[in-house]
Amino acid sequence: MNVLRISLGEVRYRKLGFLLGLVAVVVAVGSVVASMLLLRLHDIETESILAGKEKETRRRLKALENEVRKATLKLSFNLVILPEGQDIREWYTRDYSSKYMPEEYVDMLADSGIVLVRHFLPSLQEKIKWPETKRTIILVGTRGEVPNLHKSPKKPLVQAVPKGTIVLGHELHRSMGLKDGQTTRLMEREFTVHKCHPKRGNKDDITAWIHLSDAQELLDKKGKINAILALECICAQVGSLAEVRKQITDILPGTQVIEKGSRVVARAEARLKLRADAKAILANARERRALLKGERERITAMLAALLVAACATWLAVLGYGNVWARRSEIGVMRAMGYRSRHIALLFLSRFLALGLMGAVLGLVGGIIAGDALGVMLDESGRGMIAAKAMLQVGHILGIVALSCILTLIAGWIPAMVAMQQDPATVLRGE
């Protein structure tokens, strides 16, 4: 015979009181377990949602990048190389440079091995007064494209103007009544009209193109040019612009490189922005889910704490009722020589049994309740299966241990009351 056997007998005798206590523990443990499962389900859902968003974003980005890659095969961007010391504001205003550089710069670029540019177009451009016709025109001297010797040859974008000939913009040939093959005089030199351009609706209509050497002679700028157009710069990504700039300025120090504006750069920038936006959307979604989870955790923790406190109070009340009902038992046990530890063990073992049984039943009940709620939230039920699988042995043991500790704490006061009871008072009173 020992205290635990007496305790077991008492539990069987006062079943209702024990069951009421058990219900309290089951409810407390069950609610904690169900909350844990629902929070885990939330995590699983979050990962699933974010994974879906990431997948969709990657798919769309890939599709867009493919589009851009296809487009950029046909598109390129152009650069203007200006002489050292040229005021960029002045260049934007006049649209031609007032500073000059040696014509041989073009050959230096063509021979340099620069890989991102296909063609180089040297030019000498100025706004002049055509003395014979009293018109202000833009005179452009060009010798045609200089191909990049280190790239495979491509059809030139700009055709050369033969020496001694002139190409006229629409307004010029129209107002002068000139046609292909006719001659005209420019600055006391005779030129044959090589080509008359159709109306373009821009300054090309008042532009006259001649061979570069002819322009250099007429403008007294022998061996000089004031711009190099770098054509079809291959654009794999926006960073290529900086790379080309660096390559050119490494070969021609002091020169200035200006990008002539292209849709490719805008598209690349848009692509980057899309990528950044996608990242921001994902980060935002993650943050919102984290905030939601944080809120849910706070509410769950608060509710669970309140529930556990209420259950512990109920247990303590039941425990005190049990002590009161057994006061004559305690009295006669004291008379028989039971020590305080025997009395304490008699009551605490009861609470320990409540904690153990309540934990096991609460775990089962919590899983069932969590399951039912989880299926309502996640109709496939797969998330709840995964959530249950995440309940590890450590968690289960932790829940059982916590349940036992809490019931013992709840039972401590009733046990203390039982230990402090004066047997003489009970036995004399009875």
Partner: protein, 219 residues
């Protein structure tokens, strides 16, 4: 002397002031003695018994159980002394309602675990005529049987002293005789019995009767 009272008094604080339940009691119970304390209800008999059983500290005076003052011991040692040397029998029996006859008797051995306790308990069950009731719970026993269980519980540890508070108060005549016979048998085997009762007929069974009135035992 198994039990000795030396000018023992006990007072209680009540709503109307201090109440002297027991005043200046001096007597003894020797081995082999069955002493009855007879008096009307409220004269202090139960208070006397509880002090003798190391359950109620006297306000003054000295109580000696087998030569030792239990009130000089720490509470756990005092409990140990009770478990070893004193057995109690009460008018209300105070059996544990959810334990069987055998387990009720064995409950007294919890403070003093002993491998032979079960054997002693079984012998007592047979000796007290409870053989066919050993697995019954108190609710299934008659009052006489319940008191016999209480008596067996009181002697299972082989105490030196049995304190009986109105042990026959709820029994019929036949069972009164049975219980008193068992108490006398205990005293004859070398133990001491202190029995408190209001019934003169019960007191007559004792070797010595002390009359108690208003907390005193006149000399």
């Amino acid at each position: 002397m198994i039990l000795k009272f030396n000018e023992v008094s006990r007072a209680f604080r009540g709503p109307d002031g201090v109440v002297d339940a027991v005043m200046d009691l001096s007597f003894g119970v020797a081995a082999g003695d069955m002493v009855a304390v007879q008096g009307p209800s409220g004269c202090g008999k139960t208070t006397l018994l509880l002090m003798a059983g190391a359950l109620l500290r006297p306000t003054s005076g000295e109580v000696l159980v087998d030569g030792r003052d239990p009130y000089e011991l720490p509470p756990d040692d005092r409990s140990g002394l009770r478990a070893e040397k004193i057995g109690f029998v009460f008018q209300q029996f105070y059996l544990i309602p959810y334990l069987s006859v055998l387990d009720n008797i064995l409950a007294a051995t919890v403070p003093r675990p002993d491998s032979k306790a079960r054997k002693r308990a079984e012998e007592l069950v047979d000796r007290f005529g409870l053989g066919d009731r050993r697995r019954h719970v108190p609710a299934q026993l008659s009052t006489g049987e319940q008191q016999r269980v209480a008596l067996a519980r009181a002697v299972v540890n082989g105490p030196r002293l049995v304190l009986a508070d109105e042990p026959t108060g709820n029994l019929d005549a036949e069972n009164v005789e049975i219980v008193l016979a068992h108490l006398k048998e205990f005293a004859s085997s070398g133990g001491g019995v202190l029995l408190v009762t209001h019934d003169a007929a019960v007191a007559d069974h004792a070797d010595r009767t002390l009359q108690m009135k208003a907390g005193r035992i006149p000399v």
